[in-house]
Subunit: 282 residues, 2 copies
């Protein structure tokens, strides 16, 4: 285990320029100006250091976190020599949500290009997602259930924002998150990959997710072929125009009384169904 | 549409005792002392007024919300004569997350008793859930996918806390949320209903959710019989002792690189699988 302050001086001034530059990375304009992002918490820093070591710039570790998260500190030190011990005051001034460990990384830590198309692949499209917790959770779920990438339409919260990174539990460093200017661009990108655009909708006249799953297990369904799940705004869902641009609308059957699901819960349901059908097809 | 301030005087003093009593209901001790809870936002207030009209005490509506959420105001006025117009300042002082509408209700608005057991039912057990957003989302998902009730083990955040109510989107007023003192008590309650306790776990040696789903669709699996899904703490999962007390451990297969799912996403996946198997069995 690395001892605290083995090499570098303990940073102890919460009003230092460096501290303000780090905490300022919560702002989108500071990120695009500097090309840097803030990664908070042991889980996200661990994934950053393991998957994108070349993107790590500086890592800041509070004394007690140096002990309790020794594995993260070791991974960070393999990625960079700039692992700084900091006082509790500096740690809090840099980030209120870091559990004592945060990192500054190049925004290139998030890959922005989808891989080459593969047969039967699943893609995720997020249109106008405003809540960073939901967007990060959807990215984490897409990663867990083997989607090839996430396409976010401009207007959705920025994937390099600290809250998205944290709720993705570091999955933004595993799976590409590609930004497009409009919903039409997302559609084109999906169609070029010979994938169908499946909009999620509570409306009548839609296909049922359960039917697509059950049919896909015994024969074929939309889920047996390449497809992109489209998730809309958490409050309003997909707009009429977005729904018209989809190749099919899919509703998640609900036996109970709730009117709708949380968008990240809907994403978990759809992506699990896709993975289950893919698993049988392979 | 009801006109603003048709009957009652506009409340305009953000420092009034009444305002402090309302905002104080974020605290658990104030709720148990008064037997009252705070319900924030048009969606939760709508569900409260529709499903538990007798539990509604007072409803507070900001002028613009009176217009934009006229349907909620009408439902509230059918439930109580105490629908008060309030200024923006009073509204904000009562609740920062109400979108202009909040209600005070008896804590009895949440039913605490599970219904009579039914064959093949699904129950949810939450052990040591600390994040109100996750707990509320799990309650919403349990409601959506037709679970008969939620059992929360003491130590889990209180279902009558405003954040849980809000993230449940009012589902706390549809589905019973029963509190038990210990995990052992949850187990007894589930076993008395002839249901099996299925712990969710990433560990090896567990049953696979996909297998339980696929088998349940063609023949029978654990999901064809009465069962309770157990979800643990969001950071640590189930403890060793909790896992030992389960009748079976189930893991959610993940084709991708993420180490785990968010607990509410895991719940969505499991509860959708249960509903899909139930649908075919019926």
């Amino acid at each position: 285990m690395s001892s605290f302050a083995e090499r570098l001086t303990v940073l102890d001034n919460p009003r230092a320029d460096r501290v303000r530059r780090v905490s300022g990375l919560v702002g989108r304009s500071a990120r695009s100006r500097s090309g840097l992002m803030l990664v908070e918490g042991p889980q996200a820093v661990r994934e950053l250091a393991a998957h994108r070591p070349d993107a790590v710039r500086d890592v800041y570790v509070r004394e007690d976190a140096w002990q309790t998260h020794a594995d993260v500190v070791d991974a960070a030190r393999r990625a960079t020599r700039w692992v700084h011990p900091v006082t509790a005051e500096v740690s809090t001034a840099m980030s209120g949500d870091s559990q004592g460990i945060c990192a500054v990384a190049s925004v290139d830590a998030i890959s922005r290009e989808l891989p080459e198309p593969s047969v039967g692949e699943t893609i995720v499209v997020i249109a106008q997602g405003r809540d960073p917790g939901n967007v990060g959770t959807i990215i984490r779920t897409a990663d867990a259930f083997g989607a090839v990438g996430v396409v976010v339409v401009a207007g959705t919260v920025d994937a390099s924002s600290p809250k998205v990174v944290r709720s993705s539990a570091g999955s933004v460093f595993h799976i590409p998150v590609c930004v497009v200017a409009s919903f039409t661009d997302a559609r084109t990108l999906v169609h070029v990959r010979s994938a169908a655009l499946l909009g999620t909708s509570g409306g009548a006249g839609s296909l049922s997710l359960s039917d697509l799953l059950v049919q896909g297990l015994s024969a074929r369904s939309r889920l047996s072929q390449s497809h992109a799940w489209v998730f809309g705004n958490e409050a309003r869902g997909l707009s009429g125009e977005e729904m018209r641009l989809c190749d099919a609308l899919v509703s998640i059957p609900m036996a109970g009384e709730a009117e709708s699901l949380n968008v990240a819960s809907a994403a978990a349901t759809c992506l699990f169904a896709s993975q289950t059908v893919r698993g049988v097809g392979n």
